[in-house]
């Protein structure tokens, strides 16, 4: 008997009225891997992500975290054990950077000194000088810095897994690559199981250990980045065409 999957979607469907948002999704994440949910807007990827920390519940089927359905978890405890990073960051504007990062540890009742130490340690880990940033307010930060704080906040209470909802989507391309590098470095260091939503195929190929391609609520392809690149399926080709276009432009320019 093997250990239960870190996260498992079991026959998960979700509908609002007659609108089918997820259609019989089956997907299991093993411990330590990064699965990227890739899809266009409206493919249901964000809905799937929000089912893991119980912000949304399936209309049929179930989502299991560490072998237990989200419906039978104490939701507060579940959410505190899962890091969550979203595109809008959602930092608390009335808290300092330090207070933002230390939020979950504080909710969990850690002593203030330990919260402080943890916040400093995490800021350093995401590449922000604690001395310089701890007492700043979110509005005094750039978009990239804010998202780094968002990542630090998600890591604060040493969560069992991490959820990312297009975290780097609103950043300029250079900052985006910097944060992707940061993500990879952190993953090599911490080995956290992650579920990562994006519509950017480059990001999916860079960050995913596996890529799950969603289309209109259905899981169309589940593949490693290498398999994904080789795939001849029309669905994958449509996404990879973006890369071809890039290569084409470069070829054109060098002619």
């Amino acid at each position: 008997m093997s250990a239960p999957a870190a996260v498992e979607f079991r026959n998960v469907s979700f509908r609002i009225g007659s609108h089918q948002i997820l259609d019989n999704l089956n997907l299991a994440l093993t411990s330590g891997e990064t699965v990227v949910l890739l899809g266009r807007s409206g493919s249901g990827k964000t809905t799937a992500l929000k089912m893991v920390n119980g912000l949304v519940f399936p209309t049929s089927g179930e989502v299991l975290v560490d072998g237990r359905a989200t419906t039978s978890w104490d939701l507060i405890a579940l959410r505190r054990s899962i890091g969550y990073v979203i595109q809008e960051v959602g930092l608390f504007p009335h808290f300092t950077v330090g207070e933002n990062v230390g939020l979950v540890p504080r909710l969990e009742g850690w002593p203030p000194e330990r919260v402080g130490n943890r916040s400093r340690e995490l800021l350093a880990q995401v590449g922000l000088d604690p001395l310089q940033f701890l007492d700043r307010r979110p509005r005094q930060l750039s978009g990239g810095q804010r998202q780094r704080v968002g990542v630090a906040r998600a890591l604060a209470a040493d969560p069992r897994l991490l959820l990312f909802d297009e975290p780097f989507g609103a950043l300029d391309p250079v900052t985006r690559v910097e944060l992707q590098d940061q993500f990879l470095a952190l993953r090599n260091q911490l080995h956290k199981t992650s579920l990562f939503v994006t519509h950017d195929v480059r990001e999916a190929l860079r960050l995913g250990t596996r890529i799950a391609l969603l289309d209109r609520g259905r899981l169309e392809i589940l593949a490693t980045p290498e398999e994904f690149l080789r795939s001849r399926e029309p669905q994958t080709r449509a996404f990879l065409a973006v890369l071809d276009l890039g290569a084409q432009t470069i070829a054109d320019e060098s002619e």
Binding site: L55, L78, Y84, I86, G90, V104, L107, R153
Partner: protein
């Protein structure tokens, strides 16, 4: 003309006026803020409660004081009736600003708070209320300034306050008396407005 007597009267009626406003606003806040928070949780009743507060606001103030007199328990002649009327007047800005303030919290911030594992109570006290504070305080400020003005009508039903001067002045066509009521009332309103404005600014996110 006995000037020292007038000064004495101004002082004591201003005090009475201030206490009237203080009690009314205290109670109005004690009712309005929790009710406003409740309405953000139970949007079903939002239309009804806001509608009620809206109607109260449109009733001419003199008539509202009059309507309350025959009602048992809260009615009659005197301060109690005046306070009830003033509370009804203050309710709308308090309710509306509490609602607007809380519902105006950035959805991404609210979602983060929930996803971080905040309980509904923590979400309210640590995120929603602090972020809504400037808007709520703006409501308190508007309500206070209006109440200071409206409270002058309390004198018509025996509620006392600076309105006593004004009504007496109108009855005896005595401008001095009217001014003795109006000027302290205006000063009180300006001071409260300034003070509450200062507090409001302190609560805004830096």
């Amino acid at each position: 003309m006995n000037r020292p007597g007038l000064a004495q009267d101004i002082l004591s009626l201003t005090g009475e006026h201030f206490v009237l406003v203080l009690i009314s606003m205290g109670l109005a806040i004690a009712i309005g803020l929790p009710l406003g928070v409740l309405l953000t949780r139970k949007p079903l009743f939002k239309g009804w409660v806001l509608g009620f507060a809206n109607v109260m606001q449109t009733v001419p103030s003199l008539a509202l004081f009059g309507f309350l007199i025959p009602i048992p328990l809260i009615g009659g002649i005197g301060k109690r009736t005046a306070i009830v009327a003033l509370i009804l007047y203050a309710l709308l800005p308090l309710l509306r600003n509490t609602l607007v303030g809380i519902l105006g919290v950035d959805p991404a911030v609210r979602e983060s708070a929930v996803a971080m594992g905040m309980t509904p109570r923590q979400l309210l006290w640590q995120v929603e209320l602090p972020l809504a504070a400037p808007t709520i305080l703006a409501g308190v400020r508007v309500a206070t300034v209006t109440t200071i003005g409206t409270a002058t009508i309390a004198a018509a039903i025996g509620g006392g306050g600076l309105g006593v001067f004004i009504f007496r002045g109108i009855a005896s066509v005595d401008t001095t008396q009217i001014l003795a009521g109006a000027v302290p009332a205006a000063a009180l309103a300006l001071l409260s407005d300034g003070g509450l404005g200062w507090i409001e600014k302190r609560f805004s996110v830096a």
